[in-house]
Symmetry: D2
Subunit: 346 residues, 4 copies
């Protein structure tokens, strides 16, 4: 039977991606769309300035948008996706949780909280067990689950695959697409023929979220992964697709071929929106890949790509890439929602 | 009295920059322009498809272009600048050297040869002493001096400034402009809304040239600097200006402020085309600088910029930037030419 | 039963689009791929540097590429698509035609010949009757049919729709994507932060081809449409999608609403790859459309878009858009192939 | 003796251009800088986010910014430049005018008023005579003079030059740079790999302003030029420099060479910031010029460029280009200020 889902903040850039990704979903059915007070009561077509290249699904276009309050969302909604600005989410998400809702959220707030699972289904599905801790702590009937930041999610699958060789240190530099800042986040005057070597708060997110994702969970408590992660974040003139360059120190000394094999063979998840293969790895015959425009849409934008694997004195260097508004945002929350269903939480 | 200079490969992209930079030079006077056989005999205006935003100096436009052979260049020419493709340069430069010419060359060939000075005037002017070794070895009356690759030259001044803190390891990722590949090197279909995580041969150039530049010279022999340099090179959609992100391990533990001071105070060179200050350092109040379009033209494109300095567990991270076809190519050779004059080699 | 098709010049940019568009085609089956002598004998994967964002269909990747000669193509092939450079096509196409092949060609040569149909299926399918004239004239068993240039095809459907109001004069300015010049046709140094107000030969193609397409055919002879067409062609930094701005003088004085209705209601073709609606027309509520990136992929890149319709003293002004390498090249030839099948020529 | 000038709205994009252009001006000296209430009392460095590639002049950086009210500006200021948003300007400019100030304004409001001179010094300096009419009408001691919109100013000099051949009709399509919309006017998500065929209000500005500029003034009243002007405006991914494609109907039938000569020989103005030659005209040997990036900075961004002149049935087609934030905005107001001084109004 269909799972009824709602989208909090449905008119924004990530909200539009949710709608695009949910179109034709095998089990999820959109039952509620919320936005700011000023949009409540309008049809979705009126409320949203649709900017995705594919058309708005007709039945969604005619749905009425509600306010972002528990009162405006029916109790029949089984699962909420949240792509609210974190300043709003930090106020509103708790209200929904107290009202018993289950939220798969893309927003920044609470990602690093001790009792909130920060999850990539293929990497750390066991962290969902934290929901019990969360319910004990907070007295909620609902549950809050977060996905990491887009730049974190791009590299963590490759790090998880390499952890079998003893991951010790990561120096990562990002080349991030403008869509990561939202529709109006980067002006054209800033970025045409230019790059910006700073994205506020992004480096510390990558450094902390990645270690939480790779950390252990003993059924009661999380432990952070013991590696050191140093990040340097840059904005470049690409629309979608974050490209990242990594130098990793590994206790063991895998050959590039062993590293590629570890990435290729890293297991995926058996969820409707998960890619068949989690990481596509380019070999030495295609040294100029992955590229944002050529590779961001592999497996509907849900696959990670890696390439350029080579040895260094203390480990490896390589590049990786993911579609930041699909795999790195709306698709990440969607996958977490599917994981909640599979795990019986919904 | 004016020094008569010639430009080998004067019609190409770097050749055009030489002409732009030499316009109004206090001591250098263009006396010879060479190009391929098919251009010989034409005026420069006819032979070159001029693509620099400023106009061709009128007297240069009317000069006759000669073939790139010693016979076609007068003995009165005191100094040659070479921006030939390295496949051509490796054949032609030796002919000029045997004929007694002094060449300041931007071409790749021979940069890593034991008896060829690879020089940035502010960093290792003493390496010019290798010319004596070179003359002994090769029996030339002339002399060959090289400048490093544009991506190397962007970071080495900052590394030289930090070496007082015990430079041990560098992980550097570049965001390089398309002009670095020459006028037709990167097609628009490749790079619009895209980035390319591979530039053939670039990473090994950065890894070896930087260690030669930072190395010592005891009057007879060069020694390579003992640090480890790992490079990852990317092309992005910018016209000019290479931006680089560095993680450096340092034996001492300078604070960011001490590191900024070391860079700011690193001495410049007293040469006509040298910037007053070698490295402009942005502080924490301007975390989004340097940027390629905003900062590449500081001090006529001859100044290096740095910013985003912050501590890591094992040292520092920061960004740096230089104009790749000025400071990183034509301007680098020009400055080396000025160093040869100052040192009395011409 | 499946129609066996071949692609002449299968490794180029338009050739790759043919393969992408033919993937999953209901009646056409790729039976032959040709390229230059140096590629003959290789698999398609080896011969082509694949640059389309979707993956190469696996069975095509393993097909052997043949030389572009009649001997190398089996007689069982029913229909050839040609995307050869026109210098090659003008020599090679006649050889195939003499050998009895039917060619739907995107190449420039012979487009304006009196006995060669230049066809857009929705506009002038009756011109196919010229094949009889062509066979009489040339003594061929085969047949040659051409589609117009990409910039022509973008505007002609809208002109055909407005012709009921007495089309008298067209002043058209194009904003063309870089892919129109082929993969390496426009360098990044030329076009980043720039536009080029000249595309060699393009203006005269638009001026003559459009009048041939809109002209009459009495069963024996073509007549050119009597309007005046003035074109000014520009290259801008977009990847795909030609945007055109038109001022048209019309004998009658339709209102913008009448003009929009005429475009919307202009009949499509009942062919497998034809769009359901030929022209999508944006109204006054969306004055900033069509846009290349947002609208080029409507109906798989086969639909024309128009918008901004407004009155002038002597007629109308408006914009139109089409995907230049799909509707304007490979898709145009494909549609002409489907028209040949429907008309019983194959 | 130096003329004391003030800049209303000094911190915005055009305001920054004023400061850049006034740096080193032979007769104008900046004596007042105004901005919004929230900036009043700060130094200019603090109040402005400086985004011009050249550095802020040091003495300007330390100047105190005042509020945009007559009280905050000393009576010793002889001339005000205004680059206020037109919503603000329409309220504030009258206050300054009543207080006796003379304003050279770039803002939209009042451009088409019967008693406000809309002036390009090289085209219609005699329209300054309207100031007498304005003073009579409004009872002001001051005076208000406007320059046209950037897209208008780009084409009008070429139209003025061709008017000797009997200018009858103009169909113009623009390819406009993003800076024309202000620093944050066009987001990167809108314009990368895209073009937008709509700029609100721009087409009617071009259609009316150009006819006012080319119109006559009999000492008492203005008359609009009798030609028809149809405009279609597009935004493209260029930073600076509006490129325009024109089809003009002319009563006489000049050859392209005669048209080029008329443009080349059109007289300039003898003012400090005026270009030596008003219109640079490219011949048939450079058919791909003018280009925004290559030609926008000719004569410090104050020269118009034209090219691609060719005959049509009813006249000519050609392209023209100007730097929109210099010649088309701050430089236009500056030149009008110089004209006021030369004419003895200051």
């Amino acid at each position: 039977m269909a799972v009824q889902v709602g989208i909090l903040g449905a008119t924004g850039a990530v909200g539009q991606r949710f709608i695009q990704l949910l179109d034709g979903h095998p089990t999820f059915e959109i039952a509620a769309l919320t936005a700011s007070e000023s949009s409540a009561g309008k049809t979705y077509r009126e409320a949203a300035k649709w900017r995705v290249e594919t058309q708005i699904p007709e039945e969604i276009a005619e749905m009425e948008v509600g306010a972002t309050t528990p009162e405006a969302v029916s109790d029949d909604v089984d699962l909420l996706f949240s792509s609210l600005p974190s300043s709003v989410a930090s106020e509103v998400e708790p209200e929904f949780l107290e009202a018993g809702h289950i939220i798969s959220s893309n927003s920044l707030n609470d990602r690093m909280a001790d009792d909130v699972p920060l999850t990539i289904p293929e990497i750390n599905p066991d962290h969902l067990g934290l929901i019990e801790v969360q319910r004990d702590n907070r007295g909620w009937d609902g549950a809050l689950i977060k996905n990491p930041n887009c730049s974190t999610i791009t590299m963590v699958p490759t790090l998880a695959a390499l952890d079998e060789f003893g991951l010790d240190r990561v120096d990562v530099t990002t080349l991030q697409a403008v869509s990561g800042a939202g529709y109006s986040g980067v002006t054209s005057m800033e970025i045409i023929d230019n790059a910006i070597p700073h994205i506020g708060g992004e480096e510390s997110k990558m450094e902390s979220e990645s270690r939480k994702l790779l950390g252990g969970f003993d059924g009661a408590e999380l432990s952070m992964h013991e590696s050191t992660v140093n990040a340097s974040c840059n904005r470049i003139p690409t629309l979608d697709g974050h490209l990242e360059s990594l130098f990793v120190d590994l206790a063991d000394e895998p050959t590039p071929e062993e590293a590629r094999a570890a990435m290729r063979e890293y297991p995926g998840a058996d969820l409707p929106s998960a890619p068949e293969q989690l990481i596509h790895v380019f070999g030495d015959d295609e040294p100029d890949r992955p590229q944002p425009r050529m590779d961001r849409s592999r497996e509907n934008g849900m696959q990670i790509s890696a390439g350029g694997v080579a040895s260094t004195d203390s480990g490896l260097k390589y590049n990786c890439l993911a579609h930041n508004t699909i795999r790195g945002a709306a698709g990440a929350s969607l996958l977490n929602g599917e994981l909640l269903v599979e795990g019986g939480w919904i």
